[in-house]
């Protein structure tokens, strides 16, 4: 399965795949690099510029991996949302016996 896959069916997108793991890891790495990089840039240190650039690259790669999948999940879930919200209100109002 390509890491930079663009087309997802709704059912495929609902499953957890390596794309989610890669997105989470790259996202954390990007935070780390940007935190250090911005401080380094403000102190005008070479390591700051290099680290910040690496953080931006991580962010771009992360978005390319996860964005198509997130779009597919969102489209699928929106079709079910009204039904789920109705059930949620029944739970709050203690009207859950009809679901069994």
């Amino acid at each position: 399965m390509s890491l930079f896959r663009k087309n997802w069916t709704a059912i495929e997108a609902e499953e957890w795949t390596p794309h989610d793991l890669w997105a989470a890891v790259l996202s954390a790495v990007a935070y780390f690099l940007i935190a250090v990089g911005v401080a380094g840039v403000l102190l005008f240190q070479l390591w700051g510029f290099v680290t910040l650039a690496a953080g931006i690259v991580c962010t771009v790669v992360m978005l390319r991996i996860i964005d198509p999948k997130l779009r597919a999940i969102s489209t699928e879930f929106e079709t079910k949302e009204a039904h789920y919200l109705e059930r949620l209100n029944r739970v709050t109002r203690w009207e859950t016996n009809d679901e069994r």
């Binding site: 495929e12 935070y31 401080a39 949302e81 789920y84």
Partner: protein
């Protein structure tokens, strides 16, 4: 309160900036009053229809409070640039955006307490919902109190106003638009406040760096003072040790693991609770993910600006020993070095920082008190009108409680490290387990909360004060508490029955959690409620 005072003199232009800003904020309440009063969902979630950048701005501005520059100023002045790893706990957003945010958004729970009711079943779930909603009502009151106490401290420092006035005045202004427009007022004001705060923080921090002689001069002055290590975020005093006046690799690793792995869970950090509200107010799962991701990243970005401006403060004032004095470093750099006219803009920025946090926590506390306590337990048949009215009364209740608490708070830094980090230690693993493991049940989570509350106070405050335990460094406290609390919830998990299978299947189909859910997933497939993607591929091949 500190004895230190600056007594700033404002020009008419400075007061004009301040007045304009206050008018702009209260207008938010009036403009969005009609939307906020329509229903419970509008009053607390803005109708669940926001594009990602609005909740993202709210995440940023909510977590930029008056006490935040004091806290970050305190840790950077004490530890140098390696102190940025303390506020790096915001990195939980990096992982959460693509894991727990997605799961929580799909659950549609209005609050974390309501999610407990969807994830768990029976009496345990109800006890958890009741407990979390009561706890969060109090915690939000507590947050409003400590942020207001910080504002009281700033106003005393700047104008010599009595603390009670600084604590109550600006918080009361904020209460006007929260009471009128609910979350609509919060989110719209947060967007403006986020932009203003971002500009002001950047401007003042860069100003401070320039005042200290510029970036390279800061580095060379640190070297000249024999403090060059302060510019290195990876300077550690050894791999591990028990001296709380040292910063070890284990401190760094603990903070890093706690933040990133913690992003898989829900409720590990007190920041999760306001973020949960922002997640549900986003219009889609994708918007929710990006709002948390971008909001978290902008706070990390902001921390680095503050950190370097505190290094600038350090090279100008290197020998301050009082925590109460050096944690005001960023404010001093702004008020002592910016010209007249810009001082008012700086103060407006501080008000923005203050109001955005107060507004979010007033509305959030009212959400728990209204949705989970009033609506679920006291009046399940309440009409939308009654719910909005209850929301407003609860907002007022939290405001008044916070004023009382705020008058008793002294040191900002030690409270924050305790509340943000150590108090989360014991429930850190359980908060992950409840997301990733079907067998972890309501009794286990409830027991971890109770054990954590008792043990965190014992280990951090009571036993060291009695001389039973030495004062331990934060990283040891964290793992010690995590281990001690595990001794309670692991047996409880296996000695009590799993949650009701039907309930778990319904939750699984709706939220699609990550992790060890195989028995529940198999049951959902057997009932024809979900189709695994592998089956689709097989059908396509046939």
């Amino acid at each position: 309160m500190t004895e230190m005072q600056l007594l700033v003199r404002f020009t008419p232009l400075d007061w004009m900036w301040t007045a304009l800003f206050i008018i702009l904020m209260t207008l938010c309440g009036i403009l969005f009053y009609q939307l906020g009063k329509k229903s419970e969902s509008e009053f607390f979630l803005a109708g669940r229809g926001l594009p990602w950048w609005l909740p993202a701005a709210s995440v940023y501005s909510t977590h930029t409070a008056t006490d935040t520059p004091m806290w970050i100023g305190g840790v950077i002045y004490k530890w140098g640039l390696r102190g940025i790893w303390y506020p790096f706990f915001a990195a939980w957003c990096a992982v959460s955006a693509f894991i727990s945010t997605r799961i929580f958004r799909r659950s549609l729970a209005m609050s974390q307490a309501e999610w407990q009711n969807l994830r768990y079943s029976g009496l345990g779930a109800e006890l958890l919902r009741g407990w979390l909603s009561g706890w969060q009502t109090f915690m939000n009151m507590f947050v409003v109190a400590w942020v207001s106490a910080a504002m009281g401290k700033v106003c005393f420092y700047l104008f010599g106003w009595p603390p009670w006035f600084g604590i109550t005045f600006f918080t009361s202004i904020c209460a006007v638009y929260v009471l009128m427009a609910g979350y609509w007022g919060v989110i719209m004001a947060d967007f403006q406040q986020g932009v203003i705060a971002f500009i002001v923080i950047t401007l003042v921090s860069v100003w401070a760096i320039v005042e200290a002689g510029g970036p390279l001069a800061i580095v060379s002055k640190l070297d000249a003072l024999g403090q060059g290590w302060r510019a290195n975020p990876f300077h550690f005093d050894g791999f591990w040790g028990l001296d709380s006046n040292h910063f070890y690799v284990m401190d760094f690793l603990t903070l890093l693991v706690m933040a990133t792995v913690g992003g898989i869970g829900m409720g590990n950090f007190i920041d999760w609770y306001p973020e949960a509200q922002r997640i549900q107010s986003a219009r889609t799962v994708r918007d929710a993910a990006y709002s948390i991701w971008a909001g978290g990243l902008s706070t990390v970005f902001r921390n680095s600006f503050w950190a370097v401006s505190i290094l600038a403060f350090f090279v100008m004032f290197p020998a301050i020993e009082s925590e109460a004095q050096y944690e005001m470093g960023w404010f001093r750099m702004g008020f002592e070095h910016m010209p007249s006219g810009l001082l008012g803009m700086f103060f407006a920025g501080i008000i923005a920082i203050h109001l955005s946090t107060i507004a979010s926590h007033l509305n959030l506390g009212a959400l728990y008190a209204t949705r989970d306590l009033y609506h679920h337990y006291l009046n399940p048949e309440a009409t939308e009108r009654q719910l909005v009215r209850a929301g407003r009364w609860n907002t007022l209740f939290i405001l008044l409680g916070a004023f009382l608490l705020g008058l008793f708070m002294q040191s900002i830094t030690s409270w924050l490290i305790f509340a943000l980090w150590l108090q989360a230690a014991g429930i850190w693993v359980p908060s992950i387990l409840q997301v990733v493991w079907w067998r972890f049940n309501s009794w286990a989570y409830l027991s971890s909360w109770i054990a954590n509350l008792m043990m965190s106070w014992l280990v951090v405050w009571v036993l060291p004060a009695l001389g039973v335990l030495p004062e331990l460094p934060n990283w040891v406290n964290f793992w010690l508490l995590a281990g001690l609390v595990a001794l309670v919830y692991i047996p409880v998990t296996f000695l009590t029955a799993p949650d009701d299978r039907d309930h778990l299947v319904r939750y699984y189909v709706m939220a699609r959690p990550l992790g060890w859910w195989e028995p529940v997933r198999a049951e959902a497939i057997r009932r024809g409620l979900i189709t695994p993607s592998g089956d689709l591929r097989l059908e396509a091949e046939r």
